[in-house]
């Protein structure tokens, strides 16, 4: 399969960057064709502009500023997101990818004022993520980033497509062993992706 990897972490020595590397290796080992989209390295600007907002629903022109990203999303058969959770949400650079690239005509269509999801080329989704907060706190907050994956993105991609959510919580206090175990789990899972 052709897999688009969306990665968002600014620091190359971070645990997030190590997870990203592991994901790339696992996917390639499994024989997938990987399109690695490192949002920070590519200098993605997450701000939906005034011009983009005004032309948001114009299917002829709304992709113009982000055509390259739209093409990569539409060319993919599967999506893997590697990101930290900051403040119980995705980092701005990743949130902005949804704001600017998941446009009408790309990930959904408007039919009589109603949204019809249409990113049906994506047949599998996996998220690899880390939280500063504990699992209990995330649960009490309602775990917004998990819901974005398991409810919003799940609804946008091909119906009934499998969704895997790998999360390591309480990052500031986990031990080296726990990090390693998570890394291995992610590697094993994505080798079988």
């Amino acid at each position: 399969m052709r897999v688009l990897v969306l990665f968002s972490h600014p620091v190359e020595t971070s645990f997030g960057a190590a997870l990203h590397e592991r994901v790339l290796i696992a996917l390639k080992k499994a024989g997938h064709e990987v399109d690695d989209c490192d949002l920070y390295a590519e200098g993605f600007d997450p701000r939906l502009t005034r011009e983009e907002r005004l032309g948001y629903h114009d299917l002829e022109t709304n992709q113009a500023n982000v055509k390259g990203y739209v093409d990569r999303v539409l060319a993919a058969d599967a999506l893997v997101i590697v990101t930290p959770v900051w403040n119980f949400g995705h980092p701005a650079i990743l949130k902005g990818f949804f704001d600017r690239v998941f446009l009408p005509g790309v990930s959904f269509k408007m039919k009589n004022g109603k949204v019809a999801p249409s990113l049906h080329n994506i047949r599998k989704l996996a998220v690899v993520t880390t939280y500063g907060g504990t699992r209990l706190r995330a649960f009490l907050v309602g775990d917004p980033p998990r819901k974005i994956a398991t409810r919003v993105l799940r609804a946008v991609i091909k119906p009934a497509a499998p969704v895997k959510y790998h999360a390591l919580y309480d990052m500031n206090r986990v031990t080296e062993d726990q990090r390693k175990a998570f890394m291995d789990k992610v590697g094993t899972s994505l080798e079988a992706f």
Binding site: Y40, D45, P46, R53, N87, F88, G89, A92, G96
Partner: protein, 195 residues
């Protein structure tokens, strides 16, 4: 009260701009002292840089890139957020404002082996969210309102223990009418006025 209004929409002619004006006039009418941060007008950069991320845990120096914003959140006793809900969440611009401005040592102390995260924004006693959603109320509820929860549960945990919250939303924006919009503005005046 000292009220910080954080506004996030790229278009001056948008309905969200009218919402912001209504919020400001309502707060003024109630006699509050107001500061406004208009993130798009300020051309705020929401992506936390590698340098900031590396220095994230350094007391004092971690506030330098966003000093005026940190000053504003230390000043206020109440925050009102005005933004459109996009993909069930905060616009990247607003999400990045939390990422970059609500730094450790100012807004919370990191958890240690013996104790959990310690909130430090107890001077904030009220948070209001005034937003617009493309989705219906039912779909928003089903999805779990990630944007609402990021602010009113996630960020609220850093504020006063008994911090009060208010959430106002105009749903189904794509089929809104002049009447529904004006009803919403009236609702804002009423509910925020009492808050």
């Amino acid at each position: 009260m000292r009220v910080l209004v954080v506004y996030c929409h790229p278009c001056a002619e948008s309905f969200n701009a009218a919402v912001k004006e209504t919020v400001l006039s309502t707060l003024e009418g109630a006699g509050h002292e107001i500061r406004l941060i208009d993130l798009y007008a300020k051309e705020f950069d929401p992506a936390m840089s590698a340098e900031e991320r590396r220095g994230y845990h350094e007391p004092d120096s971690n506030v330098q890139p966003v000093a005026e914003h940190v000053d504003a959140i230390n000043w206020c006793e109440m925050i009102v957020f005005v933004y459109p809900t996009w993909w069930f969440g905060l616009p990247a611009m607003l999400k990045g404002w939390f990422d970059r401005v609500w730094v450790p040592h100012v807004t919370f102390e990191m958890p240690t082996e013996r104790s959990g995260m310690k909130p430090k924004m107890q001077h904030i006693k009220k948070i209001a969210v005034v937003t617009t959603c493309g989705a219906t109320w039912l779909v928003s509820k089903y999805v779990g309102e990630p944007g609402r929860r990021t602010i009113l549960r996630g960020m609220r945990a850093l504020c006063a223990t008994n911090c009060r919250t208010l959430y106002l939303a105009h749903y189904k924006m794509d089929s809104s009418t002049p009447e529904s919009r004006s009803r919403y503005l009236a609702k804002i005046r009423h509910r925020l006025g009492k808050f």
